[in-house]
């Protein structure tokens, strides 16, 4: 479903992705972790070409992202993305946040889009907030709306870029539960997160990145108990035992 082949990216002089290669099958849930600045968010943003790469090849659903003929907008419509800071549209009500893309990108009628949107809001547990503005919601509610907005396009792949990092601790759970449900339904997911409990519960694989390289690519039980690389072990000890 998603293949990275020796992907390299630079921000000016800075080499942020170094020969990143991996393959993700349909239905797989992959958690990506690593220290800050390790390139994990950049890697994620390459999947729907929010970032362009300098060398290598990325193929998503059989579409080569670098080929000039590829219809990137069409591909993006099939890849949902959830951001650290939610990025809901502040000027639109929750429902309008959900139906804008289906109507304008897919050409779905307003009635059908509204119908789907209300079902999705029910699924993430906030249908009663449909006519609220994003600023009137808590962080956890906003992030659940953001997930519903991405799902409204009926994506085949979901990308999560540190979805719980900007949340107060008591709201992390409600967002993770929605994500767990999604994983159990068989959605293909790449999740950049430090929530190792989530990785243990639903991930099929954990990719550990450091300084722009993929260091480990293991099943969670292997990764947590017998990570080979010392950098991964140091990272794990730091993240699992912060007092």
């Amino acid at each position: 479903m998603i293949t990275f082949d020796k992907v390299n990216k630079y921000f000016n002089q800075l080499h942020v992705l170094k020969d990143v290669s991996f393959h993700i099958e349909a239905g797989e849930v992959v958690v990506v972790c690593g220290p800050s600045g390790s390139g994990k968010s950049t890697m994620l943003r390459c999947v729907n070409r929010l970032e362009k790469i300098d060398r290598g090849e990325i193929v998503v659903k059989g579409v080569n992202l670098n080929a000039p003929t590829s219809d990137i907008a069409k591909l993006r419509a099939e890849i949902g993305m959830v951001f650290q800071h939610f990025n809901l549209y502040p000027h639109l009500r929750v429902l309008d946040n959900l139906i804008l893309a289906p109507i304008k990108v897919r050409g779905v009628s307003r009635e059908v889009a509204t119908d789907t949107a209300m079902k999705l809001l029910a699924k993430v547990g906030i249908q009663e907030k449909a006519s609220a503005y994003p600023s009137q919601l808590s962080g956890g509610q906003q992030q659940r709306v953001a997930i519903a907005r991405a799902l409204a396009m009926q994506p085949k792949i979901m990308l999560f870029d540190e979805p719980t990092s900007a949340l107060d601790p008591e709201m992390i759970r409600e967002v993770l539960e929605v994500m767990v449900d999604l994983a159990n339904e068989g959605m293909t997911m790449i999740v950049v997160t430090h929530e190792m409990g989530f990785a243990r519960r639903v991930a099929h694989r954990v990719i550990f990145m450091d300084e722009g390289r993929v260091i480990e690519d293991e099943k969670p039980e292997v990764f947590f108990s017998q990570a080979k690389d010392p950098r991964a072990r140091v990272f794990l000890s730091k993240i699992l035992s912060h007092i």
């Binding site: 907008a73 069409k74 804008l100 304008k104 503005y133 994003p134």
Partner: protein
């Protein structure tokens, strides 16, 4: 239209407000000229400024530079110079010259306000739009412009008040606005104090009305 200072000694020890009533016709006509001139320039500079500001925000280096050259050129030359150029050099009659000069002048400021407004919209909004499959035009149309329109209301208010104030210079090319009429009354009656006070109050009221109207507009955008 420089004139000799009016009476140089206080003619009477007391102020005589009846002069205002006596010259109410002149005040009223000056007031209406100021109001409609300002209104026309507000509409004009908003249209030109919005267009220029949006163009200057597109991801094109040369377009951005071109628009910033436009605003720098207009901002760094005083309004009166532009007004005199249209009136005295090109020979455009007073009212069109005033409209043209004021609109052009303020459009540069509006364009800067719009550009700054667009720049202040979080990059994440564009990311979200792209990730959902919107093209750049849709992102501009449905995300950037509506958010920008809300953000620019407060700075736009100052620009509109500035237009009302700056419209006072049109008297220098014999357009009979409020300031012009005040000077006429001053010369005719030596009652400069009363006339100037009344005019000052009128300008103040216009500014307040503008601020109130914009505040009401801001309230209608409930989000945020």
């Amino acid at each position: 239209m420089p004139r000799a200072p009016a009476a140089l000694k206080p003619k009477d020890a007391f102020v005589d407000w009846s002069i205002l009533w006596q010259y109410r016709g002149a005040f009223w006509s000056g007031f209406t000229v100021t109001v409609w001139l300002s209104a026309a320039c507000i509409v004009g500079s908003t249209i030109v400024g919005l267009l220029a500001g949006c163009l200057g925000s597109l991801p094109s280096f040369f377009l951005r530079r071109l628009i910033s050259a436009y605003t720098e050129l207009l901002r760094n030359i005083p309004l009166v110079v532009k007004l005199f150029f249209f009136y005295f050099v090109l020979g455009i009659p007073g009212i069109p010259a005033a409209l043209l000069a004021l609109t052009l002048h303020q459009s540069a400021y509006v364009a800067d306000v719009v550009t700054a407004g667009i720049r202040s919209i979080a990059r994440g909004q564009v990311d979200a739009g792209l990730s959902l499959g919107h093209g750049y035009w849709q992102i501009f149309r449905y995300l950037i412009i509506p958010q920008m329109l809300r953000i620019v209301i407060p700075p736009m208010t100052s620009q509109y008040v500035a237009i009302i104030k700056h419209s006072s210079v049109v008297g220098l090319v014999a357009v009979q606005d409020l300031t012009f009429q005040t000077q006429e009354i001053n010369v005719a009656t030596f009652r400069g104090f009363e006339a100037a006070t009344a005019t000052t109050v009128l300008y103040g009221l216009l500014a307040l009305a503008m601020i109130a109207a914009m505040a009401a507009l801001e309230k209608r955008f409930a989000w945020r």
